[in-house]
């Protein structure tokens, strides 16, 4: 028997050697990268590639290369014409006229016309379409009316002035000739898309890759890359290995890995702000948290700079208002109330609010302790470490905090319950912001309990500003309105604003033509990107 065993073992060994010898060479070749090909990581498998239906960031990443809209957001988060040549807004702010570029064709060669634009927006408005975008085109229950004035002119008639509409008008356009009279929710088009963008869809192997290739008919600057291969790699460590090996060309790294990545010669590193902030929301229906002094005491007790240093290794900024510093509507410095770390103030504030420390060292009033729970959804963007640091900081000043991590959907069920009051004290979350500062649904009092103002914030001044910001079309005026609203909210402290994280992107040096690093990413002008 031992002989037999030896034989089979040696067979297995030699098989392994043959396999690695045969294919090992091929593997080494690949890591040098293919000319004209860029490999991008997707941190998950896209759901579908129809721009009016997507809900996940991975789909949007691919869709952005295949489709284009009448307008597009540039590096400075401003809108510029794309499929449209120009646009006009009537003085009453209710009629928008878009002039489309002539001679644009779909990837299948069919001409692009105003009918496609009207079809796209009408499909979004159709209640049968399962899209999150419908609300952008329905104002106070009345849908926006889209008509084709001629083959290359689109008219949008709004029931009332609505400034955020311009950003919604930048939505990517889908082809009428391929989707008319189909069930858009289940159309095979959604996995085999045809657009007008710089790249054409080639293939999608579920869980493996999506390939898009250069569109020779592109109306803009001719794309430099021959193709882009999108690879879904969910695991962070696998992504890290892939960027080091050259299997992918761009990867957003954790700050902890920065030193290691700096040592890798073929990588260039870029750091830039995101349109995002993390926060702890106070349930303002809680009888303790209703008192601004209690919220201020909590804010002063927490060293948010220390959180930025510990969680983000310093690659972020402390947040004080619900708007990103890169936004054009960010308030000026002195308008912002800052609750910088000052634990001594916490005690003073609590005592002035009538709280006294009990025998356990916890503040209480009328027999009710300052003891809260903080909930958060696992897998969300806000780090669980934040909660631990906050817990320890509050413990030091005499406020008890219990951390309750929850499965994401269970968490949503609580904050989105649609009932008053909601069953939480504090909740930790992040908001990804839109380039338009209209956060009506988050801060307007009418958005509670149904809506995203789940903490029950209500300030008539803020309500008025948010309503006005939607009706004024002047850019400067809007910037002032939202800056004022943000400053008011920051002062009221309905959230403990934690930080604005920064993205650190590692990009293979063989990739050129990146756009100015910023919240819109590095590939805003994907057609200008090339690879050695």
């Amino acid at each position: 028997m031992p002989k037999m065993l030896k034989k089979s073992l040696s067979m297995i060994c030699s098989l392994a050697i043959v396999l690695t010898a045969t294919f090992g060479i091929g593997c080494a070749r690949k890591s040098t990268g293919s000319h004209g090909t860029m490999n991008l990581r997707l941190s998950g498998e896209p759901n579908l590639l129809n721009p009016i239906l997507t809900t996940d960031a991975y789909s949007a990443q691919v869709v952005g290369t295949i489709f284009s809209g009448m307008l597009k957001v540039n590096e400075k988060l401003e809108l510029e014409p794309d499929l449209a040549e120009s646009y006009d807004i009537s003085p009453d702010g209710k009629t928008y006229i878009f002039k489309l570029k002539p001679n644009v064709t779909w990837h299948d060669g069919a001409p692009f016309t105003a009918d496609d634009v009207v079809f796209t927006f009408n499909t979004i408005i159709d209640p049968k379409t399962n899209t999150v975008r419908r609300s952008n085109y329905v104002i106070n229950g009345k849908p926006i009316r889209f008509t084709a004035v001629d083959s290359h002119t689109v008219k949008a008639e709004l029931p009332e002035p609505f400034a955020p509409f311009l950003l919604s008008a930048a939505a990517e356009i889908i082809p009428k000739h391929l989707l008319d009279n189909t069930n858009i929710n289940t159309a095979s088009f959604n996995r085999n898309p045809v657009g007008t963008g710089p790249f054409k869809f080639k293939e999608w192997k579920a869980g493996q890759h999506i390939i898009v290739v250069k569109n020779p008919l592109y109306y803009g600057k001719p794309p430099q890359l021959d193709r882009i291969i999108f690879k879904p790699i969910s695991d962070y460590n696998a992504g890290k290995v892939a960027i080091i090996k050259g299997d992918i060309d761009e990867f957003d790294i954790n700050p902890q890995d920065l030193a290691e990545m700096k040592k890798i010669r073929h990588l260039a590193l870029y750091e830039y702000d995101q349109l995002q902030y993390s926060f702890v929301g106070f349930n303002l229906k809680n009888h303790h948290l209703q008192d601004i002094k209690v919220r201020q005491a909590i804010a002063y007790a927490v060293d948010r700079k220390a959180i930025v240093d510990a969680v983000l290794k310093g690659h972020g900024t402390v947040a004080d208002v619900p708007i990103s510093p890169v936004s054009w509507a960010y308030p000026t410095g002195n308008a912002i109330t800052r609750y910088d770390y000052a634990p001594a103030k916490s005690a003073t504030l609590l005592e002035s609010a009538g709280y006294k420390k009990n025998t356990h060292g916890i503040y209480e009033k009328d027999g009710s302790e300052l003891a809260f729970t903080i909930i958060y959804g696992q897998g969300g963007k806000a780090s669980p470490k934040n909660a631990e640091i906050i817990q320890s900081a509050l413990g030091k000043v005499g406020i008890k905090l219990t951390i309750v991590p929850m499965e994401w959907q269970s968490f949503l069920r609580i904050v989105n319950s649609g009932k008053d009051p909601k069953k939480f004290d504090l909740c930790m979350l992040s908001w990804s912001l839109s380039p338009d500062p209209d956060d009506y649904s988050i801060w307007h009092s009418s958005e509670y309990p149904k809506g995203f103002n789940f903490i029950g914030y209500s300030n008539p001044k803020v309500d008025a500003l948010l309503t006005r910001g939607r009706t004024v079309n002047n850019h400067t005026q809007r910037a002032q309105i939202y800056a004022e609203a943000s400053a008011l909210i920051g002062h009221d402290l309905p959230y403990l604003f934690l930080y604005y994280p920064r993205t650190i992107s590692a990009v293979n040096q063989r990739i050129h033509g990146l756009s100015e690093p910023g919240p819109a990413g590095l590939f805003v002008r994907i057609e200008g990107v090339s690879a050695d």
Binding site: M1, A28, N47, S234, D247, G451
Partner: protein
């Protein structure tokens, strides 16, 4: 024969029962597929409309009946997350899953039998102790760690094998042989990761079964007749010691298609595990029901096959059944 037909018929109500319980349990979990559509800019009424479009506003038994009616006709519906037909979503990922799980199963069995036999033949001597040590080590190391170490050694340091994916996407679909080569290359590390995890348990079972069998009087009798140890092991002991393994394999059959999620995740392997987990997190009921349907059928098929193999390994069972 009647016994086997009866067994198949008994399975039908069992499948329906399993599916109904799964259907109800799934809906007891908080949230539903419409949560995927949550967006701060969205009105509550639009969300209600989407729930209506997805028929989530119907009572659960009505939803189950509607689903069953379609399922009987072979229509498992559309994924709520992707709008793709469920059958398509499953069949897109089935080949990768089967490739990984079958390769790993064959390797596991071969290694298990070899190690089990050596272990039992040399029970309590150093080869047995070494194998026991190694198998316990394999059992205690989490799969994700094995996976990451394999990547670190064979992919990053030695640069012998690719770290993730199914095959090199830069290959054109006409280069069939190169694609097969690339797939094998991508398969090696995930297979090793899957196999190390499963060898450990099975080897322990097989070693125990073998030791038990080797102490039986008929083995002693065979030895007394001067039959060579190899012949005793391969002809007399092998089948009998395999009985517990057959039972375990029967139960493992659904596992072959449910996918090895952790390994798939680490190696970005495009299998059913990822599909199932994503569906669970996004409460994609149609996809979940589709994968459960497949697993339920396979549990029964697995048990059925285990019985058939049992009667091959131990003919007494067949006689009792008939």
């Amino acid at each position: 024969m009647g016994y086997w037909v009866r067994r198949i018929l008994y399975s039908i109500p069992l499948i329906i029962g399993m599916l109904f319980v799964s259907f109800v349990l799934m809906r007891l979990a908080p949230g539903d597929p419409s949560n995927m559509f949550l967006d701060p800019r969205m009105n509550a009424s639009d969300l209600l409309q989407i729930r209506k479009n997805l028929a989530l506003d119907q009572p659960i038994p009505v939803q189950f009946l509607a689903w069953s009616k379609r399922a009987i006709c072979g229509d498992l519906g559309f994924s709520t997350a992707t709008g793709q037909p469920v059958i398509q979503a499953i069949s897109d990922r089935l080949p990768a899953t089967l490739l990984l799980s079958l390769t790993s199963l064959v390797l596991t069995l071969v290694i298990t039998f070899l190690l089990g036999i050596i272990s039992a033949a040399k029970a309590t001597k150093w080869p047995d102790m070494l194998i026991t040590f190694i198998t316990f080590l394999g059992m205690s190391i989490p799969t994700f760690w094995i996976g990451l170490m394999l990547i670190l050694i064979f992919s990053v340091t030695l640069n012998w094998l690719p770290a993730s994916g199914f095959y090199d996407p830069t290959l054109d679909s006409s280069e069939k042989i190169a694609i097969i080569g690339s797939t094998i290359q991508h398969l090696i590390l995930p297979v090793i990761a899957c196999t190390i995890g499963s060898i450990a348990g099975l080897t322990r079972y097989y070693r125990f079964g073998m030791i038990n069998v080797l102490q039986q009087p008929y083995i002693l009798a065979a030895r007394a007749r001067g039959i060579s140890p190899w012949r005793i092991l391969s002809r007399h002991a092998f089948k009998n010691a395999a009985l517990p393994i057959i039972t375990l394999l029967g139960m493992e059959l659904p596992g072959l298609v449910s996918g090895a999620y952790i390994v798939e995740y680490i190696f970005a392997w495009p299998g059913l595990g990822q599909l199932g987990i994503n569906a669970a997190f996004s409460r994609d009921y149609p996809v979940l029901m589709g994968t459960l349907f497949m697993s339920s059928v396979l549990i029964l098929v697995g048990n059925f096959l285990a019985d058939v193999m049992y009667s091959w390994a131990d003919p007494r069972i067949n006689r009792n059944a008939s």
